[in-house]
């Protein structure tokens, strides 16, 4: 087997993965929604009709918690159009929701990046070095896993103080064990393989062995875990903000938007419904994509491939 055929095979593996992913309609739906959300997040300042922090009292003839007004659906044209209504502080709900996309995706990606970075290093060191290092790291991870993740995040935010950055940090910290365990398991499964032993015999250093030989083979479960982790992170951040521990007013964050209007579920349902729907759709999209990736990257399904 020459170098060219190896390269061809490697390319075709990814191609097979993509083909498997796109064969699942649910994965495509998830991916499309995520792409739309990314587009919204990147272009929020151009597509949002209002500044999300702008209080419209005195600027427009609108009332607090006014129902959606869509000209197309019969709302009088002399009234300003607010397609998702007005919130409890007389701001445009639609604009706030669009800007909230930016924040939610930022939360999801940044916390997962943080957790993967830390979790990967810890898991890799733990799996490769073994012994007391493995024991120490994994027992700490076990302790973290022993707490319900949201409760632990609440405890961390309580200590650090409420705020978006602290909430991100808290969610990131509670997510580390999941990635550390995945990476450790992968490292354990490949560290005694011949190509690793060969690198070791050739005098490869720890960094080279771990990150050039072992880690590429541990990437698959990490991608799946990471995609599903984004959904969990968004949900946790929304929960923390709902409880007043995450994003602080007037930041447009879906969880805090939902929390601040929770009492208006009967009187102004649009203020609770739309942020809730946004959270649900985003989490669903990442879950669909994560499930699809898991199936596509699962070698046991290769034959079906």
């Amino acid at each position: 087997m020459d170098a060219e055929s190896i390269s061809l095979e490697s390319v075709s593996l990814w191609r097979i993965t993509w083909r498997r992913l796109f064969r699942r309609k649910s994965s495509i739906v998830g991916l499309i929604i995520i792409l739309i959300l990314i587009f919204i997040a990147l272009t929020a300042q151009w597509i949002a009709p209002y500044d999300p922090l702008q209080v419209l009292i005195g600027l427009e003839d609108v009332k607090m918690r006014e129902a959606p007004c869509v000209h197309l659906f019969g709302c009088p044209t002399e009234k300003p159009q607010h397609i998702l209504g007005i919130d409890g502080n007389v701001r445009d709900q639609f604009s706030r929701l669009l800007y909230g996309t930016r924040l939610s995706l930022m939360v999801g990606f940044s916390t997962v990046t943080f957790s993967i970075a830390v979790g990967t290093v810890l898991g890799a060191l733990s799996g490769y070095l073994g012994g007391w290092v493995d024991n120490t790291i994994m027992r700490v991870m076990d302790v973290l896993l022993a707490f319900p993740s949201l409760l632990l995040a609440i405890a961390i935010v309580t200590v650090l103080g409420p705020g978006l950055i602290n909430a991100l940090l808290a969610i990131g910290i509670v997510s580390i064990p999941a990635y550390a365990r995945v990476v450790r398991a992968s490292v354990l499964s490949v560290r005694e393989m011949d190509y690793v032993s060969a690198t070791r015999a050739l005098g490869g250093n720890l960094f080279e062995i771990l990150f050039q030989r072992i880690m590429p083979n541990a990437l698959t479960p990490l991608i799946v875990q990471g995609t599903l982790g984004i959904a969990t992170a968004i949900l946790d951040a929304a929960a923390l903000s709902f409880l007043g521990l995450g994003a602080q007013p007037p930041t447009p964050e879906w969880g805090s938007m939902l929390g601040s209007e929770r009492n208006q579920v009967f009187t102004a349902p649009h203020l609770v419904f739309f942020p809730g729907l946004a959270i649900m759709i985003t989490v669903l999209a990442f879950n669909l994509l994560g499930d699809g990736l898991r199936d596509a990257l699962d070698p046991r399904l290769a034959q079906g491939g």
Binding site: V55, G88, Q248, P249, P250, S260, N263, Q264, V265, T267
Partner: protein, 555 residues
Amino acid sequence: MRGNTLFKLLSLLVLAGLVLAACGGTSPTADNPYAEIPFEEGISVSADSCDYGGKISSIEATDRLTVVFNLCKPDPAFLAKVAFTPFGIQPREYLDYAGPSKLILEAPVGTGPYRVAEWVRGDHVTFTAFENYWGTPAVAATAVLRWATEGSARLVELQAGTADMVTNISPADIATVQADPNLNLIFNVNPNVFYLAFTNTFAPWDNVDVRRAVSLGLDRSRIVENYYPAGSEVASHFTPCAIPNGCVGDAWYDFDPEAARALLAEAGFPDGFATKIYYRDVVRGYLPQVPNVAQDVQAQLLENLNIEAEIVVMESGAFIEESSAGRLDGLYFLGWGADYPHVTNFLDFHFGEANGQFGTPHPEIFENLVSGSQIADPAESEPYYVAANNAIRELVPMVAVAHGGSGTAYRADVTNAQASPLTNEQFAVSDPGGRDVFVFMQNAEPISLFCADETDGESLRACDQVIEALYGYEVNGTAVVPMLAEVCEPNDDLSVWTCTLRQGVTFHDGSTFDANDVVATFTMGLDASSPLHQGNTGIFEYYDYLWGLMNKPAE
């Protein structure tokens, strides 16, 4: 054989106990493990001198039905104060028995139309009608006090018929209640004030121009129009106009963002500054939508003064402790609802010499308050309150924002529904449509039922059903009416008040009400050296603020 002997010995001991109990001079009843102390000689409590700073020199039971209050200085508001719930009378014997063990915190014994049957923590308090009540008996045989912090939860209970009456309807729910034929709504006219406070010991609030700039740069009418229910008004003075001498003197500043920015620049902050807005997320009649108002103030400060304010939500108890001690370095939201309808209740508490919540108190304000508080005739004391209100306006220790209205909703078949201006609704006079049980829902659970040492309205409302003071407030009103006293009469300079007590009043434990019960109750509250002066927190805030504590340990 040995067991038989032991049984006989035990039986003898029980019998001997029963005989001893039966032969006692005054026998405790089956319910009362303490004996009633019959009135033989009047007791008294007195301060060594009036140098202790309080208002009471001595209280004496001169005979079985007469109590004399000797004051250190004239007090025209004596009746309004003595009618306040924390000064409700409990039996002398019960204070001795239940005070030290703190049983009194959960099981108060009073003379009211209801007695406490049970308090299921976290759920409800049940009251049953007191069969030997001296006044008009309670209409409903049972009253239940429940609570829910969320306005929507209270409304749902009312709509479901599981509550007869609920307080503090959220402004957003008012239209729902008005549209429901099965429900009625009363707008409450509780004299209250919501204010935005600063502590002048922290920069930049030590600069009066900065405080004045915030006052000018805040559109208070925008807040009231958008976040308060109908019946609320923008505060022209700290004290509502419903209180005599409340709104004398110059009205508060008009909204003028230009002038505010100029003043802030003059004070050395042309580009604004960063600060914090502290509040507790607790609904009150004076502030029905706290988070929304906080965000609006935040937006206004940024827009009009370029002040960037971070919102900090605090736990209620910690917030009160920190703000009262003057330890909050930013702006904070607080308010006040009338305890008794007198201007001293608003101004003296907040701007008195002893209150450090706004930082260093201003003599320009408190000296006028001291003078005004000693004059009975409102017309005569008016110049002092004009001067005090003008000084408040000039020195801006806080920004008075609104006098809030709130709605109380009830089932349409309830008669004699109330929305008391002093938030002390009397369950006994309401008829829940002929049903046996009257269910009332409020914002929160009482902290304890020992109101001598509580300040929150939720506890006081519960105590109001059970405990009575020498005077009380008329139902749905603010006028004082005699309760356990038939009359309290002052001497010429209002420094001695002689109270003639009502005859034939019995407490819930069956003991007879007399003058010593009054003196014992006030001793427990006033004398910090008394072994009974324990309470829930031991602070006895209302005793301290309205009368002054005797023998207070040095701080």
